[in-house]
């Protein structure tokens, strides 16, 4: 079983390497140029029934040629009924078979069917939690559906009746989030096939960053989307409560018809807007080299679209759709987006798209903090003090980061959630620290501070030994573990890696990884090997524990001791008979302890009472070690990881030991506690008697 699996991986890796090489040739253009006129690539081996193709357009990107290997072309004509929260649409999907083999069946995601009481998504959310839905009871407004009205394969007729729901992950017969179609005539390698689908969506009240809330709607995961042929097989997972998405790159041409009063934003560039006689209007959007398409509408958005960011590949038009009560934060939104874009371009690579739409979603909705290609949702409230930057700055930075880690480096979010959320959390720490300060990037009010670097670590250590990083997103123990490991642990592990290979080397590795794997679907090993290649180091010992294992790190300074070398003579003379002076020689010993199972070399800095500092290296392989000295000074303190590069130690308090107790921090904290307790007493006594 293991050997067969390795062969499959080997073949898939070979195929992926070949496809990467071919796509990389088209992905190196960086000079800003005017968009080239749309071209159409002829099919080398057209499917039966006509000459099909994927457009070669570059209307939505600052590149004269396509940047991805385009597999799909979605043409969708949709009408949104704001009263019923429904979408009626037709979809023409042209698929280019680049799998190297004939395809006789095609799985499709119908994500909105996840929002049904017996669906896997809802069952899991009820059982193990979810970011924004608790399901204390089922309410009809939470119901969502995606119903295929008709399904035609061009040249093979109407195959609606041949659609079969499948549940490849858990066998749940009531889950309808994946539908499979077996085609009578297999699609040859290199050929195109076209599907014509009519579908009807019932949007739920916002869940998992899609749906409606009041008069707002966010259209995410709203159309039938074909799975990805990846590593030699179809990859089309059911919709799970903790997982996100995976799709192929291509071209999107989407017509959206909405009521006349709606303000609309969407992925890609707006090509046309026209009013219709029935008091509606139709927006036409076009997207290049993206793998998903999302849109939003609300009659109350206030729009700020006068900003342009001068990117490395060309101008990027920034469009902000703000809630009226947050209009005074529009500048704040734009500032953080500009600063984030600036750092991503400098550190990782260019942003090639011509637009970025930033949506400030409906308050109190489950639509905030989400990424779609060239389209993100943030989140804030009318009360957002400037020193409290988790929202909007933190969330906007994070969601923009996904344009790189998911949008362009399109990893499999079902199976490798850490590669989008975790890597993005790492770059979030780097970018936010650069903009807002390492220890103030989350909070800086009234002398109380918090940094993202520590927030990620705390997120991780709360679930440190539950799951490994390298695990399918839907197989985590629960939502806390999923979040703490994929986001917090990955960020902490990569920050710690900086200390091992150097911050500059890590930055270079991230740049190389982005440039090499943008517009592809890399695996975890692609990422890890890139780091090894760039650093020139074998890091398996680290990855095996930190990425593939669930080992936990907890090093401590176990004990510190100093006593005069001639203590026995003192005893003969009677204790206290000879005072210790500056010529007294002390034997000092520092014990270090590896309390848990993560093995890693560490530095320790020992300070002596004469001001001397000594740094020692410990490989950490044994459970404990000790360092002894004979000096005319006592040990004052010992500190593990004195440069504070390790972010995965679950207990930072025991990483150091100061011989002479410093009670000030305790009394400061205690003073706060006393004050709060007394205040509580006064309030109680105020009202109760």
């Amino acid at each position: 079983m293991l050997i067969r699996w390795k062969i499959v991986v080997l073949v898939a890796a070979l195929a992926l390497a070949l496809s990467t090489l071919s796509s990389r040739n088209t992905a190196t253009a960086a000079a800003p140029q005017a968009p080239a006129p749309a071209k159409v690539v002829r099919a080398a081996n057209p499917a039966p029934g006509g000459a099909l193709s994927i457009p070669d357009t570059t209307l939505a990107i600052n590149s004269p040629t396509p940047m991805s290997q385009r597999v799909v072309h979605y043409e969708i004509d949709a009408k949104y009924d704001a009263g019923k929260h429904t979408v009626d649409a037709t979809e023409v999907l042209t698929y280019h078979n680049l799998t190297g083999q004939a395809l006789d069946h095609f799985p499709f995601h119908l994500y909105l069917n996840g929002f049904q009481p017996k669906a896997t998504w809802v069952s899991e959310a009820k059982l193990i939690g979810n970011r924004d839905t608790s399901y204390a009871k089922w309410e009809d407004k939470e119901y969502g559906s995606e119903e295929i009205k008709s399904f035609e394969v061009v040249g093979q007729g109407d195959l609606t009746k041949d659609l079969r729901f499948i549940a490849p992950d858990d066998g749940n017969q009531d889950d309808k989030t994946v539908v499979d179609l077996r085609v009578p005539k297999p699609i040859a390698p290199g050929a195109y096939v076209q599907f014509k689908i009519a579908f009807h969506d019932q949007m739920p009240e916002t869940q998992a960053r899609t749906g409606w809330r009041r008069d707002f709607v966010l259209g995410g995961q709203w159309f039938p989307k074909v799975g990805v042929w990846w590593q030699g097989a179809w990859n089309c997972h059911q919709f799970h409560a903790m997982t996100e998405f995976f799709a192929d790159f291509g071209v999107f041409d989407v017509k959206l018809t909405v009521p006349q009063n709606e303000v609309v934003g969407a992925s890609g560039v707006l090509v046309e807007e026209k009013s219709n006689p029935d008091n509606t209007k139709t927006f036409t959007y076009h997207g290049d080299d993206i793998h998903d398409f999302a849109w939003t509408a609300s009659p109350r958005y206030k729009v700020k679209d006068d900003g342009v960011f001068q990117g490395q590949m060309g101008p990027v038009k920034l469009r902000f759709l703000m809630q009226p009560a947050h209009w005074d934060q529009a500048e704040r939104h734009e500032r953080i987006i500009r600063e984030t874009l600036d750092r991503f371009e400098k550190w990782y690579g260019p942003y090639p798209y011509k637009t970025l739409t930033v949506v400030d979603p409906e308050p109190d909705s489950a639509a905030g903090g989400m990424e779609y290609p060239t389209f993100i949702t943030g989140g804030t409230s009318w009360f957002a003090p400037k020193g409290s930057t988790e929202e909007p700055e933190g969330v906007l930075e994070h969601e923009f980061g996904h344009q790189y880690w998911y949008g362009m480096v399109a990893t499999n979010e079902f199976e490798d959630a850490w590669m989008d959320e975790g890597i993005n959390s790492y770059t979030e720490v780097k970018v936010l620290s650069s903009i807002l300060g390492s220890y103030t990037s989350v909070l800086n009010i009234a002398g109380i501070t918090a940094g993202d670097i520590e927030q990620q670590r705390l997120f991780f250590i709360s679930v440190a030994n539950v799951d490994p990083i390298a695990q399918k997103g839907y197989e985590y123990a629960d939502y806390n573990s999923y979040g703490g490991i994929t986001y917090g642990k990955t960020a902490s592990v990569l920050l710690t890696l900086e200390g091992i290979i150097g911050e500059d080397t890590m930055a270079k590795a991230m740049h190389v990884y982005f440039m090499k794997y943008r517009f592809t679907h890399p695996t975890k090993e692609d990422f890890l090997k890139t780091i090894e290649e760039v650093s020139g180091k074998n890091l398996r010992w680290y990855f095996d524990q930190a990425v593939y294992g669930s080992q936990v790190m907890d090093y401590s300074v176990m004990r510190v001791d100093s006593f005069p070398v001639n203590w026995s003579e003192q005893k003969e003379q009677g204790f206290g008979s000879k005072k210790e002076d500056k010529n007294t020689v002390y034997r000092s010993t520092v014990w270090l302890h590896r309390k848990d199972d993560f093995v890693m070399p560490v530095e320790v800095e020992i300070r002596f009472s004469n001001g001397e500092k000594i740094r020692e290296h410990w490989d950490g392989k044994s459970r404990w070690t000790k360092f002894s000295y004979e000096k005319k000074a006592k040990v004052e303190s010992a500190e593990l990881d004195p440069d504070h590069t390790v972010q995965i130690d679950r207990n930072n308090f025991n990483n150091s030991f100061v011989v002479e107790a410093n009670t000030k921090p305790t009394y400061k904290l205690s003073n706060y506690w006393v004050f709060l307790t007394q205040l509580m007493s006064l309030v109680l006594a105020w009202w109760a008697v």
Binding site: T666, K668, V674
Partner: protein, 325 residues
């Protein structure tokens, strides 16, 4: 307004003349809290005292370090350190209830109330106060429950509105209304407390009815006085915290402690000011004047008068009666 000034002024005067009560209660609160927070302190000593990491709490205040501290197993569960603090807060509340009759007596007194009289008042009214507190707890609990439920429902309904600020504004309005209603109830029971002590009223129900009657008879005047005192308390708290943040260095534990205690000491004043207002009002409006009958002046036994037929005999003055209002 003049009347208000009168109530506020006389109430504050009572507080100022009897500052020792506030000092003692502040000390009591501090001592109880020091006991109540000792578990917290000991737990923190264990983790923080020998660690360089704890410096992040001293120089500035890194919230992450505090969160990590609370999560450490050796610090113990939060409930273990919060529970004693809550219990001691309840003890302070009970102690306040115990000493309050003496304080009322002291406020009403025109002279420095002797310690024996203070404690006599406390003991004499203990059971009456317990009964009153039970009634007050039931009434205030019912009102608070109903009002907070209504407020919650209104805010929830407003949450469906497309006006994002509406729920917050309604919440604030609702809280203001709840504050006024609860303050009104507090006035009622403060007057009842004053009446119990100062009238030496055994029948608590009579004082409750008297308190209710007078609360609504002079609601505007009393409510204004109580609201003014509450505003002063809010100013003390906000201003004190501002001074703390602005002027006390992060590393200065002693100055922070002194300022914190000063804020808490000052915060005791407004509530006792309200009680002073209640006593002052009681004296002005609720006190039932006693019909005093001046006893006849004892006359010295005089030797039998010499028979002087032309002079009338001396008589004692007639008693003066004050009409009951």
């Amino acid at each position: 307004m003049t009347e208000n000034k009168g109530l506020l002024g006389s109430g504050l005067g009572m507080v100022m003349r009897n500052k020792r009560y506030i000092v003692w209660l502040w000390l009591l609160d501090l001592l109880l809290t020091i006991y109540g927070t000792s578990a917290f302190r000991e737990a923190a000593h264990t983790v923080l005292d020998h660690s360089l990491y704890s410096e992040k709490l001293l120089h500035g205040f890194d919230l992450s370090v505090m969160v990590e501290l609370f999560a450490r197993p050796e610090f113990g569960p939060m409930i273990a350190v919060t529970s004693p603090a809550i219990y001691f807060a309840i003890m302070f509340f009970l102690a306040t209830a115990l000493f309050l009759p003496g304080i009322f007596q002291g406020y009403a007194s025109t002279y420095r109330l002797p310690r024996e009289d203070f404690f006599r008042a406390c003991g004499r009214n203990l059971w009456r106060f317990i009964r009153l507190m039970i009634v007050a707890g039931i009434v205030m609990g019912i009102f608070a429950g109903i009002l907070f439920s209504i407020n919650g429902a209104v805010v929830k309904k407003a949450g469906e509105s497309t006006n994002e600020l509406l729920p917050f504004r309604l919440q604030m309005i609702g809280l203001a209304v709840i504050f006024l209603v609860m303050t009104t109830l507090r006035i009622w029971f403060d007057l009842a407390e004053a009446d119990i002590v100062l009238s030496d009223q055994r029948a608590v129900r009579k004082s409750i009815w008297a308190g209710l009657r007078h609360t609504f008879r002079n609601l505007g005047r009393l409510l204004a006085s109580y609201v003014v005192a509450t505003i002063v308390a809010a100013i003390i708290l906000v201003g004190g915290l501002w001074v703390w943040i602005r002027f006390v260095p992060s590393e200065s534990i002693f100055r922070a402690f002194i300022l914190a205690q000063f804020i808490l000491f000052l915060l005791l004043i407004p509530r006792f000011w309200q009680r002073g207002v209640a006593v002052s009002y009681w004296q002005q409006k609720m006190m039932v004047p006693v019909v005093t009958v001046q006893p006849p002046t004892p006359q010295p036994i005089a030797p039998p008068p010499a028979p002087v037929a032309s002079e009338p005999l001396p008589t004692s003055p007639a008693p003066e009666a004050t009409p009951i209002p």
